[in-house]
């Protein structure tokens, strides 16, 4: 249930490459004074050093809570309460990371999250891509009405739908199974359909027409021409959707009660509630850190695609 209902237009430049300073306010100010090229460069360098300094302080602030989590996760139960606080634990209790696997259904949580996020994003991406292809490149009656209808769904927040959805799934006995989390996603994702449709608009219609003349069916055209053509856009949207599903909390907390069916986010939230009473903070922090890791790894690996697609989908109003 991602909340990022982002609307896009034509792709803008990838955010990855920062083309030199645009002569922002800071720089041009020095040039304005009519100083020679030499001193301009000096001012620029000084500006860069100052900027780096400020950004570094900010970066430390951004990273501190994560670092504090990691540090706490390696402390002893009593080490947490030591004053003054230690940033570097003494001793390092790596054992906390061994304890979490038996202290709660963490592994089951990871497994359940993988099942939900994996099945939804793989099947849902295909159904979304197929629909985007039809909306962008094929003729059909009521095309715009259908498309606008789907888009209007974006305006309705999940909390407004959750009570009836819960009732529906409860009436067919799906509560406390993963099905209520999986099944709606298999029908596709409107944000993704919109994004891929926009992307397909930049691909000429003639390739579809040529393939039709050659006698290919629409399914063949989709599989052999469209899917490869939209792969970069599809990959970016896939990753974003996967992360949104992986991090989802509201839908799981409504449907899942028993430890065996809970997703990772619920498992660590329960860790938090359960072990805070016993003040076992190292254990909680270790579990939280493990919960953060998969997404951090995905992000580091796919950083370029993620940043590009966020920059693409959000901006350019």
């Amino acid at each position: 249930m991602s909340a990022q209902n982002v609307i896009t237009t034509a792709p803008l430049e990838p955010a990855q490459e920062i083309p030199g300073s645009t002569g922002g306010p800071g720089n041009s100010a020095s040039g304005r004074r009519g100083a020679g090229p030499r001193s301009t460069r000096d001012t620029l360098r000084l500006g860069n050093i100052l900027t780096t300094l400020i950004l570094s302080i900010g970066a430390i602030v951004m990273i501190a809570p994560l670092a504090w989590t990691f540090s706490t996760s390696l402390k002893t139960k009593d080490g947490v309460f030591e004053l003054p606080p230690q940033w570097i634990p003494d001793p390092f209790v790596w054992e906390n990371y061994a304890r979490i696997w038996t202290a709660g259904p963490l592994l089951t949580g990871i497994q359940n999250s993988l099942i939900v996020a994996g099945s939804v994003t793989i099947v849902g991406s295909l159904t979304s891509a197929l629909a985007a292809f039809a909306f962008a490149k094929m003729r059909m009656p009521f095309k715009n009405v259908l498309f606008l209808g789907l888009l209007s769904g974006l305006m309705i927040p999940f909390p407004t739908l959750m009570i009836p959805q819960f009732t529906i799934f409860a009436s067919i006995g799906w509560v406390d199974t993963l099905l209520p989390l999986i099944v709606p996603g298999l029908f596709g994702n409107i944000v993704m359909i919109f994004f891929l449709r926009q992307f397909l608009n930049s691909i000429p219609d003639s390739i579809v027409e040529a393939a039709r003349i050659d006698g290919a069916s629409y399914l063949q055209i989709f599989w052999t021409l469209i899917l490869p053509a939209i792969r970069p856009a599809l990959a970016a949207q896939f990753i974003l959707w996967f992360m949104a599903m992986w991090n989802d909390y509201l839908a799981p907390i409504i449907y899942l009660n028993s430890p065996g069916t809970q997703t990772l986010q619920l498992v660590i939230a329960n860790f938090n509630a359960q072990y805070a009473i016993q003040t076992d903070y190292p254990l909680i922090m270790a579990a939280s850190f493990v919960a953060l890791l998969p997404v951090l790894i995905v992000f580091v690996v796919f950083q370029r695609q993620i940043i590009e697609s966020i920059a693409l989908s959000g901006s350019k109003g």
Binding site: T51, M138, L150
Partner: protein, 302 residues
């Protein structure tokens, strides 16, 4: 009648195309009907009933709606939700500053982008847990930091005056990287010659910022304000994890948290539906304004 020779043939081809296309869009359309339209209509219907989710709903007219605006917990949660949106302008100003800093030609910008972006992709559940720990009154990171400068920090999440600021601080931290990235993308598409021309005309750095940068990134600002309000109106996870009882004296309960509690803890499904319909209307209006104002440059049908 010269077209009759090609007419039937072409229409048969078209019909085949129509059928294939309809089949391709059928899955999301059915999904929309089952999981969006039908629940929406049901929510609206349920909002006029007294319903516990188990026995049949009993029609009560506008009872839930009149009850809602006399319910001090609902009004409090509405106020809390609005209050916590103070973080939106704060976050925008900081992230524009960051984007300007990172838009310079210098080393390390990729590194900084990654660092500032990490909170955005981190799961909100894990982030809520680690901030709950950071806000711990005795041993939390925040109060440790404040102690360094001689301030005796409060017990953030248990104190009625600090619980909302605490949640705002966390929300700003979490969202900074996202808006920074969008601003950065916008800054990069500002034509360089605008600044050069302005500099030639003797515009100061502040004037350039005020009259070139700010107007050029206005669409992004608008987009961020609208999406942040929509997101902010649905704040839930942080509240549920960090202040499981709605905070001290209900000071951090949000609208969605209250809806959730009424529906699934108290089984007042009808009343909760009414509140969810009000929330939906609010989001609809905000989204509608966005579509209207940005229609020309955001998207077009065909």
């Amino acid at each position: 009648m010269t077209t009759t020779t090609t007419g039937p043939r072409r229409s048969r081809l078209h019909r085949k195309e129509h059928q294939a296309a309809l089949a391709f869009v059928a899955i999301p359309v059915i999904g929309f009907l089952l999981f969006t339209l039908f629940p929406l209509l049901f929510s609206v219907y349920a909002s006029f009933t007294n319903w516990n989710g188990i026995s049949a709903p009993v029609f009560k007219g506008l009872d839930n709606y009149t009850k809602m605006f006399g319910d001090r917990y609902f009004l409090q949660s509405l106020w809390n939700t609005l209050y916590m949106m103070i973080g939106i302008p704060i976050g925008l100003v900081i992230s524009l500053g960051l984007a300007l800093a990172m838009n310079r030609k210098m080393r390390g910008t990729t590194f900084f982008r990654t660092v500032y972006y990490l909170p955005v992709i981190s799961s909100i559940a894990a982030v809520a847990i680690l901030w709950q720990w950071a806000f711990n009154g005795d041993f939390g990171l925040i109060n440790q930091g404040l102690a360094l400068v001689g301030i005796d920090g409060p017990n953030w999440l248990q104190d009625t005056t600090t619980v909302k600021p605490a949640l705002i601080i966390m929300a700003v931290w979490k969202g900074l990287g996202y808006s920074m990235l969008l601003y950065l993308a916008a800054l990069q598409s500002v034509p360089r010659y605008l600044y050069e021309a302005a500099a030639l005309d003797g515009a100061t750095a502040w004037q350039q910022f005020r009259h070139i940068t700010v107007p050029m990134v206005r669409p992004v600002t608008f987009f961020l304000i609208v999406t942040s309000i929509i997101g902010g109106s649905q704040i839930f996870v942080e509240i549920n994890i960090m202040t499981p009882t709605g905070g001290p004296e209900f000071q951090s309960a949000s609208v969605v948290w209250y809806i959730w509690q009424k529906a699934f803890d108290n089984l007042q499904m009808g009343y909760a539906s009414a509140m969810s319909v009000v929330l939906g209307l609010l989001v609809f209006v905000i989204t509608f304004i966005q579509f209207r104002l940005n229609r020309r440059n955001q998207f077009s049908i065909d």
